[in-house]
Symmetry: C2
Subunit: 303 residues, 2 copies
Amino acid sequence: MTYGIIGTGAVGGYYGGRLAQAGNEVHFLLHRDYDYVCEHGLQVYSCNGDFHLQHVHAYRAATDMPQCDVVLVALKSVNETLLQSLLPPLLRPDTLVVLAQNGVGVEQDVQQWFPDVHLAAGLAFICSSKTQPGIVRHECYGSINIGNYSCPDGTKVERLVAELRRAHVEAHSVEYHEARWKKAVWNMPFNGLTVVLNTQTSKLLENPDTENLVREMMLEVVGAAQHLGVQNLDASFAEKMIETTRVMVPYSPSMKLDYDFRRPMEIHYLYQRPIEIARAAGFLMPRLAMLEAQLRFLEATRL
Amino acid sequence: MTYGIIGTGAVGGYYGGRLAQAGNEVHFLLHRDYDYVCEHGLQVYSCNGDFHLQHVHAYRAATDMPQCDVVLVALKSVNETLLQSLLPPLLRPDTLVVLAQNGVGVEQDVQQWFPDVHLAAGLAFICSSKTQPGIVRHECYGSINIGNYSCPDGTKVERLVAELRRAHVEAHSVEYHEARWKKAVWNMPFNGLTVVLNTQTSKLLENPDTENLVREMMLEVVGAAQHLGVQNLDASFAEKMIETTRVMVPYSPSMKLDYDFRRPMEIHYLYQRPIEIARAAGFLMPRLAMLEAQLRFLEATRL
């Protein structure tokens, strides 16, 4: 299959790079590092093995890109409406668009803009960053869960999972709602609390008061998901996420990096949408709604 | 009546100073500014009129102080156990001890230490500060609600209210639980949120997200109080507190000043105790419990 990567950052650069390294045809949309990558290629430092791609199919504009079998969207969701113009050039009728973005509600919005597009969710469990042009640093983890949202041909999702695995990526096919809400169990407490308390995941779990708060917030997400009928998600998953995070290196989630580097925060899809969806179904998430209000205050008042 | 002031700071210095200025015999326990006050007296800059007390009954140790008719305790509640040694020298069997402290639960603890002492709550609605030795700055407001907790002679509380009024202090006699919980409606949202979000009361009310959060937190306090049977306290009081605060000068509550000046915060009586008391009665305060956890994290991790 041929691939288009929209958003060649810490996530898109890593998975797209892995696919290209394994011999797939991968087309990368680049923004600020277009010139650098054209000249120097793409460098990935990875805990699973470094690699360098010298000849990269790099593009400055989506309108120059070819139609692809699979499009991986790894833009920050604060720029979601950009997809209204970025996606069309890459789409054939059967193109699979994988939204490798955090939060809840992105597929619903993109489907509304493109009613016929075949969508899947991509939930990346990865510690990676891009701090210089053309250089991705992959620190640890790296698995990705793919959840089919509206692709009538389920075998295409399975084929993507197989090609990712051939490219040395741990990939799984997961039920769509389960995939989105499981990631939210981790994302919702840690992203916002590290911003509001100016700290890292490890410190939140070392303190008994915030460890308990993290657990209560995770249980709000689990409760919302169960209320919405999501399967295979109960309180034991929250405990598993806490124990997994406890043994991680001290970590700054993406929202903390966005806040520290004065970029807009993904409050809409990470907090507002899941909280609204749960509330509309009659389930309240008071602690996470409070965290959303605190984040909105910080975003509105930061200098 | 004769008065003893334990804790001659922004609150004790102001009310004690007013009583002394009106001609009452007032004995002040001083700590760091003992020498200054002995030499220069006590200066009060007040929006209701400045005054200076040249000859102050000042003491460095409670054991040197005389027994008094009324003892006003205006210590920070983080030092509550100090009362076990500070109070006895000032007590006659009928001494009225007024705890002019924030939070919920102080009378219960002091009563346990001194089962026979006559206690009342003093809830000060005052913007004042003591930033230099011997100098109190009273910016605005200044009323105090007295709530009889365990004084068998109710006329003594009324007499105190009358003497405060003669000293140009707006004083009211208020039912004990109503007094404590009404103050908590203001204290619990604003003290903690100004710390966690590093801001002032006015900014919290200018932002629609945090204004709504403040309201939800106030309604948690109102709900807890109603659940505990407190009279004369409903949602309209929360609105009144919001409107009152909206027209106040931008204000840093005492906990914000404590945090900024690296003093311990009154988390125990301002958050833990009321939250525990409500929970024991079957009423949960999830937002305020979350705020308590955030404050404990900040207190434990600040440099």
